[in-house]
Every structure is written in structure tokens, then in C-alpha cells.
């Protein structure tokens, strides 16, 4: 009995939370148009969310590509088709690993930074001060950060993919001796625009989801040190789960 009521409570709580996020998203979208009229604010946020995440994205991209090269080579050589390593690495990166791993890294690096920054602004009355100066924080603070994240994600994914392919090539061609001509030409022949499109759409959706979660959690965090910490943790957990869930839904939709 009490288990059922706890389950109902959890369900109601979850539905309420989804509703609150939807309302917040609506209000945020309404402020995006005015925010777009101030591109300098958005460019600054693209720099914060994108350029400052570059090192971690590139570093991880190389390693993911190298692992992909190694595992791919090991698997493909069993069937004598190691020349297809380029195709396997490219499709794996473009359609799945690039968007997903970048989104997870984005949530950990830029998402947490966004949440804690906005949460601390709330805790130190900076958002209230803005409202008292007749400035809407949704338009001046939240919308540019959200748009910055949405724009930065596809760019980061593209860089991750390029660096990942370099890593796969490094291991496959340089280390394992796959023919470079076969590696690149098979990739060029097999990868189609649809594959790139799928990755691009995924990166846009993940960018929207991760940025939305980050700004929502920051904006609604308790104005205490513990509250901001909790909101930051929630950002990572929610963004990661949401990314993987959306990835499944999108992959199913594209197949």
C-alpha cells in the first residue's frame, strides 16, 4: 500500500517536473528571438561553452578514435576485411559516438559550468538585482547561454569527429598497417550525406537538451551552496540519461 503511494508520489513528482521544464522551455523560446538581436552575448556564450571545451573534446576524440581503430581492426581482420576500417570508424563516429560522447562531455564540462554560474547568480541575488533594474534575466542571462550551448554542440561534434577519425587512422593505418588508400577511399564511397545529417540532427537535439537541463537546473537551484551543488549534480545525471534516451529514439527514427 505504502509502496504504491510512494510510486504514485514519484510519478506525480516526475510529471510535475516535466511540466515545469516544458513551461520553462516555452518561456525560454519566447526570449530567444529578442536574445538573437544581441549576437555579441551569444558569441560570448558560444566561446564559453564551445571554445573552452575544445581541449577535453579533442583529447577524448583522439582516444575514442584510437580505441575504435583498434577494436575495429581486431574485429574486421577476423573476416579479412580490415580495409573497411575507415567506413566502420567514420559511420560509428558520425552517427553515434561523435554526438553521444560529445554530449556527455558537454554535460560534464559546459553544462555544470552553466548550472553553477546561474545558480550562484541566484544565490548572490544577481538575478533579483537584474529584475529590480527592469532587466529580464531570462532574456539577458538564460537565453544567450542556452543558444550558445545549442550552437556550440554541432561545432564540437564536428571537431570530435575529425579528431576521432585522425585517431582511428593513426592506429589503423600507421600502427596496424591498413592500406591508407583503402581506408580513405572506402570511407569516401560509403559515407553518405544522410549519415552526416543524422549526426548533425542528433548533435542539435542533444545540444538543446543538455543546454536546457543546465540552464533550468541553475535557474531553479536552491540559493545555497548545497543547493547549487545538488543542481550541478542533477545537470550531469539528467543530461546523460536524456542524451542516451534521445539517442535511442533518434536512432530508431532514422533507421
Amino acid at each position: 500500500m505504502s509502496g504504491a503511494s510512494t510510486r504514485d508520489g514519484l510519478l506525480v513528482g516526475m510529471l510535475r517536473r516535466i511540466g515545469a521544464v516544458a513551461v520553462f522551455f516555452g518561456a525560454l523560446l519566447a526570449q530567444c528571438a529578442p536574445a538573437l538581436l544581441r549576437p555579441r552575448l551569444i558569441v560570448h556564450q558560444v566561446y564559453n561553452a564551445g571554445a573552452r571545451s575544445l581541449i577535453i573534446i579533442m583529447l577524448c576524440g583522439v582516444f575514442v578514435g584510437m580505441v575504435l581503430g583498434l577494436q575495429g581492426f581486431d574485429l574486421l581482420q577476423r573476416f579479412g576485411s580490415e580495409d573497411a576500417l575507415g567506413v566502420a570508424a567514420a559511420l560509428g563516429l558520425l552517427k553515434e559516438l561523435g554526438p553521444v560522447v560529445t554530449a556527455l562531455l558537454f554535460a560534464g564540462r559546459a553544462g555544470t559550468a552553466l548550472t553553477s554560474e546561474i545558480g550562484l547568480m541566484r544565490a548572490t541575488d544577481q538575478l533579483t538585482a537584474m529584475q529590480m533594474m527592469a532587466v529580464d534575466p531570462m532574456q539577458r542571462i538564460i537565453a544567450p547561454r542556452f543558444l550558445g550551448g545549442v550552437i556550440a554542440m554541432p561545432l564540437l561534434v564536428a571537431i570530435f569527429n575529425v579528431v576521432g577519425l585522425f585517431g582511428a587512422q593513426l592506429v589503423g593505418v600507421q600502427l596496424m598497417g591498413v592500406d591508407p588508400g583503402a581506408f580513405w577511399s572506402q570511407m569516401q564511397g560509403a559515407v553518405e550525406l544522410n549519415d552526416v545529417q543524422e549526426g548533425f540532427i542528433k548533435s542539435l537535439v542533444f545540444g538543446t537538451a543538455c543546454s536546457l537541463v543546465a540552464v533550468y537546473e541553475g535557474y531553479h537551484s536552491e540559493p545555497t551552496a548545497a543547493g547549487v551543488g545538488l543542481a550541478t549534480t542533477r545537470t550531469v545525471v539528467t543530461s546523460s540519461v536524456l542524451t542516451l534516451l534521445l539517442d535511442y529514439i533518434l536512432t530508431a527514427a532514422f533507421l
Binding site: 533579483t128 529590480m132 533594474m133 527592469a134
Partner: protein
């Protein structure tokens, strides 16, 4: 040397699309002493806890109105109600005649452009330097040219004695300096009403003296109506024209500082003389001391 034409201050200020109730200027016949803020029969509760049960309050034009009271009586909450950050459960808050709770965001923002607010912790924007913090509301609401904006900001910084700190970041400022920068930001749009939330908290005597002098200057020289929320009785006595003492959700005494000092009300005496126990009890409601100390049911003493 050719004379440069000096633009009139804020001549390039963006014109609002329409004049709303809150944007309408005070009638020319308005006299000093007219009510700027009127609070009548205010009731406000957070959950089951009643913060205000029946509060009446008036801040008059050109005067310094002090709101005093023990910690936790809702002084800051009153400011949040006055400025429309929260809505009352019952009663009315009127500013320049407009019912704050019924205003939409557009009208509320128009009303807030006539208000400057000094926050307890300064609430400076931490990613902007001192200059940009003060320039922030001007940049948001006007199209002033950079030279004119610079002139305006430096004038305000000079008034609070911090012209030399223009390029410092908020993290580099002392508490007193941050409060003065926040004051410069609060007056940069030439507000008609200045609201100070605990302006003396955590300041050394020198900084406190500076802030008291600045508040007095803003009121006497610029004629700005002021509401000061604080529990620093002596500082308020030096600057306030009218004082309200809040306790248990209502106003328990009001009048000039001299009238309050002459009051023989128990709660006024406890507050002004700083007596530990009285109508405001020293102990927060708790179970019987002996029972809690020696209770065996809960070894942590929560019985």
C-alpha cells in the same frame, strides 16, 4: 578650442511604446510628503507561516522612511512585496498609486525603472568590472554614446569615492566598497525612490559612516525618497524622518526617531535598548529543558 555640444543627459533614452500606469509621472501638483508607497492591510504567508498578518505602511515623497525590527520579522520580505517580487496573500501594495500585485511584467518593469535598490550583499554582477556594473542598467535601457556613458558612470563613481576603482572586479572589493559601488549603480538611472536592504550589515565603523553620509546626501541633495530596512537603531536615528518598528507580522510602533525614543512601549524599549529577553523572547519555542536534557527516549535530545 571648439566647443563640443554636450548632449542632454539621457536624451537618447529609448522612448517607451506607450505610457502605462506605472510610467506616468507624478502629477505636477504632487507635494513633498505625498505617499510614494502605500501598504494597507497586508497579509502574507509562506506555507502555513504567517509573515504579515495586518500591516500598514506609508513611505512619503522626499522622506527617509526606516523599517526596523528584530531579525526574522520580514523586513526584507516587505521590500520584496513592495517591489512586486512576491504577491501578497491579501491587502494592497501601491506605488505611485499603482497596485503592484496587479501589474503585468511590462508595467512592473516600467515601475522598477523609477526605483533603485541597494541589496544587502551588493548583488554586483560578478563577471563585470565596477565600471560595467554601473553602466549595466544604462546600457540596457538607453542608447547613450560611449563618451556620455563614461562621463555618467565616472560621475556616479566619484560621488561614492570610488572613481579609482573603476576597473576592479567585484571579487577585489571590500564589503564597504562593494556596497558603495552597488549604491552608485542604484542611482545611475536617477531613480525617484531608493530602497536600501540592510545597508549597514557587516561594515566597519568607517564604511558605515560613509554609507550613512551617502544615504543622507542622496535624500537631501537629490531629494530621492528612501526606504531603509535595517536594525541598526543608531544609524537609522541619524537619517530617518519616519520609522516603523515591525514585530510578529505587524507594525507595533511608528513615528519620528524622537517619538520612538520617547515611547514607553515594552517592545520598542526592548528593541531600542537591546534587551535580550522581553516581548521578543530570547528562546525559540522548545520543549521543556529538563525533559529534553534527561529524556531517555531520544539520546540525541530530540524528545
Amino acid at each position: 578650442m571648439p566647443l563640443r555640444r554636450r548632449p542632454k543627459p539621457l536624451e537618447r533614452r529609448r522612448q517607451p511604446d506607450r505610457v502605462t500606469e506605472a510610467q506616468r509621472p507624478i502629477a505636477p501638483s504632487a507635494q513633498a510628503g505625498d505617499a510614494v508607497v502605500e501598504v494597507a492591510g497586508l497579509r502574507y504567508a509562506v506555507g502555513r507561516r504567517e509573515i504579515f498578518t495586518d500591516l500598514d505602511f506609508v513611505a512619503r515623497r522626499g522622506r527617509v522612511t526606516a523599517v526596523m525590527g528584530p531579525s526574522g520579522t520580514g523586513k526584507t520580505t516587505l521590500l520584496r512585496l513592495i517591489t512586486g517580487q512576491v504577491a501578497p496573500s491579501a491587502g494592497e501594495v501601491r506605488m505611485w498609486g499603482a497596485n503592484v500585485a496587479t501589474l503585468g511584467q511590462r508595467d512592473l518593469f516600467a515601475l522598477r525603472r523609477r526605483i533603485g535598490m541597494l541589496f544587502q550583499n551588493g548583488a554586483l554582477l560578478t563577471d563585470l568590472d565596477v565600471f560595467e556594473n554601473i553602466a549595466f542598467p544604462v546600457r540596457e535601457h538607453t542608447n547613450l554614446t560611449e563618451p556620455l556613458l563614461r562621463e555618467l558612470v565616472l560621475t556616479k563613481l566619484h560621488a561614492v569615492g570610488l572613481r579609482g576603482a573603476a576597473r576592479m572586479m567585484p571579487a577585489e572589493l571590500s564589503g564597504g566598497m562593494a556596497r558603495r559601488v552597488a549604491l552608485a549603480r542604484a542611482v545611475v538611472m536617477d531613480p525617484e525612490l531608493l530602497i536600501y536592504d540592510e545597508p549597514f550589515v557587516g561594515l566597519d565603523p568607517i564604511s558605515m559612516g560613509v554609507i550613512v553620509r551617502l544615504i543622507r546626501q542622496m535624500n537631501r541633495v537629490l531629494g530621492i525618497t528612501s526606504i531603509v530596512v535595517s536594525h541598526d537603531v543608531h544609524e537609522l536615528g541619524a537619517i530617518a524622518d519616519e520609522s516603523y518598528l515591525l514585530s510578529e507580522g505587524r507594525c507595533v510602533a511608528s513615528g519620528s526617531p524622537d517619538e520612538l525614543r520617547a515611547s514607553d512601549s515594552e517592545i520598542v524599549r526592548q528593541f531600542l535598548d537591546g534587551v535580550a529577553d522581553g516581548p521578543v523572547p530570547f528562546h525559540y519555542p522548545a520543549p521543556d529543558y529538563r525533559e529534553q536534557l534527561f529524556g531517555v527516549d531520544d539520546p540525541r535530545g530530540r524528545g
